[in-house]
């Protein structure tokens, strides 16, 4: 009988990455979630032939023997074979039943049952409550079905999440629907540098953008985000507005401002410090990269006032958000 203690195991950081969802489920799912509740029972005075017929009729491989509401034994196919072998098909069930019962509590995790199946070499486990009262039966088949059901539920939940996000623009009716994402970027915060862009890219993918579009927006906003981190006095703001047919992205800061915008746009020109360059940034390619990725770019800056960079990406009809054509038709990324 389980105590719940043995089933627990220490999950180290290293091992954690190797645990599959199925393994996780074997810890999450309780015996009570997967067991059969509607149990066919036998009485000790029934003949073995009747037990055999009951198992055959219900297509089960074993059943508990109950007397006065108490489970006193269990009959499995093996016991029936023994009875056939000894010509005991008309003998009472009590003569052939297994009385050494291995049971399991309903609140134990499924992994506990898997251990027991392996260790006790039994094919089914009566499931009992805290007082030993039988609540159901558990077979390996129950575990397989329960795990598959749980996996399917996971899958459906993810599908629903994706469906909801990608249909945002279809489900909400207005003259003009848009979704705005805002991020605050701190100056010299290299530790989090690029994080906002990663979030923006993921949001676009979730909204149903194809890989190519998400990548274009990602590259442009990443360069702009790094510019805020590298160059601004007090950081700045990223603002992304997503509409069904275009995406506007902007960064705004309040200084120091760019003295010569034309020079700043020249490839290779950079004011980044050696420290920043060592980190792989400040090569003077940022604005060029942005220009390459977006359909329209506008850079306005005034020394002392700050800088505003606007980027616009126009979505071709087949890539519009909320488009009703099947996903397969526009997944060219």
């Amino acid at each position: 009988m389980g105590t719940g203690q043995e089933a627990r195991r220490v999950v180290t950081d290293e091992a954690a990455g190797h645990i599959s969802r199925v393994e996780e489920l074997s810890y999450e799912l309780k015996i009570g979630d997967v067991m059969t509740r509607d149990v066919q029972t036998l009485t000790p005075d029934m003949e073995m032939i009747d037990a055999l017929q009951l198992l055959r009729r219900h297509r089960i491989s074993g059943a508990p023997v109950v007397a006065d509401g108490e489970m006193i034994g269990i009959i499995s196919i093996e016991d029936l074979l023994r009875a056939v072998d000894r010509g005991g098909l008309h003998a009472p069930v009590r003569d052939f039943m297994t009385t050494q019962l291995v049971t399991i509590h309903w609140y134990e995790p499924v992994v506990k049952a898997l251990e027991l199946f392996g260790r006790a070499s039994v094919g089914r486990l009566p499931v009992v409550d805290e007082n030993g009262k039988m609540l159901g039966m558990l077979t390996k088949g129950n575990i397989t079905n329960g795990t598959l059901r749980a996996l399917q539920k996971d899958y459906q939940e993810e599908e629903v999440r994706r469906y909801r996000a990608s249909h945002l623009f279809q489900d909400i009716i207005s003259d003009r629907t848009s979704l705005i994402l805002r991020y605050r970027i701190e100056p010299r915060d290299f530790t989090h540098g690029g994080q906002a862009s990663n979030h923006i890219k993921r949001a676009l993918l979730r909204l149903g953008a194809n890989a190519q579009l998400a990548r274009r927006c990602g590259i442009a906003i990443y360069e702009a985000e790094m510019n805020l981190i590298i160059h601004t006095t007090d950081g700045g703001v990223i603002w992304v507005e997503i509409e069904s047919d275009h995406i506007m992205m902007a960064t705004m800061d309040d200084g120091p401002g760019i003295p010569d915008v034309a020079l700043a746009r020249r490839p290779g020109w950079s004011t980044a410090t050696a420290e920043v360059r060592e980190m792989g940034f400040g090569a003077g390619m940022g604005l060029k990269n942005i220009e390459r990725c977006v359909d329209e770019m506008n850079l306005e800056s005034k020394v002392g006032d700050g800088t505003r960079l606007d980027m616009k990406i126009i979505l071709p009809p087949e890539e519009m958000f909320g488009d009703t054509t099947p996903v397969a038709a526009n997944s060219k990324g």
């Binding site: 290293e14 190797h18 290299f190 540098g193 990602g218 590259i219 790094m226 490839p267 792989g280 990269n289």
Partner: protein, 123 residues
């Protein structure tokens, strides 16, 4: 070429957990400037780099890089590895330098995924 083969060719050590070594690597690119990666790396490339900061992983996520190889036994800090685990981007360290790494992979048939960029003016 599968990531597993890449790791063998470069005597690499995988630093991330549960990395899919059967993942298909379309080609390679080498860069220490993140803008270069964003500008030139085509999707599903293995990136060879000497940089070990979190931005390498974030840049890789943006540029759809399939795996990152650190040259000359460089190793990122645990927080960078954790970030890569979260983003599902395998990190590999190799004892070889960039030139040798490129040579080994190219010779084994891994194509370049470095897109040529037309520079306007300048340079």
């Amino acid at each position: 070429m599968r990531l597993e083969e890449v790791v063998t060719l470069i005597s690499g050590k995988v630093l991330t957990d549960a990395s899919d070594l059967q993942a298909e690597i379309a080609g390679g690119c080498g860069a220490d400037l993140m803008s270069d990666v964003l500008a030139s790396a085509q999707p599903h490339a293995v990136l060879l780099t000497g940089l070990c900061n979190p931005q390498v992983v974030r840049t890789a996520q943006i540029a759809d890089v399939a795996a990152i190889v650190f040259v000359r036994d460089k190793r990122p800090t645990p927080d960078v590895i954790e970030l890569a685990n979260m983003e599902g981007i395998p990190l590999i360290t190799s004892p070889y330098g960039t030139f040798e790494l490129c040579g080994r992979l190219y010779q084994a048939g891994l194509p370049s995924l470095e897109q040529r960029i037309a520079h306007e003016g300048g340079e």
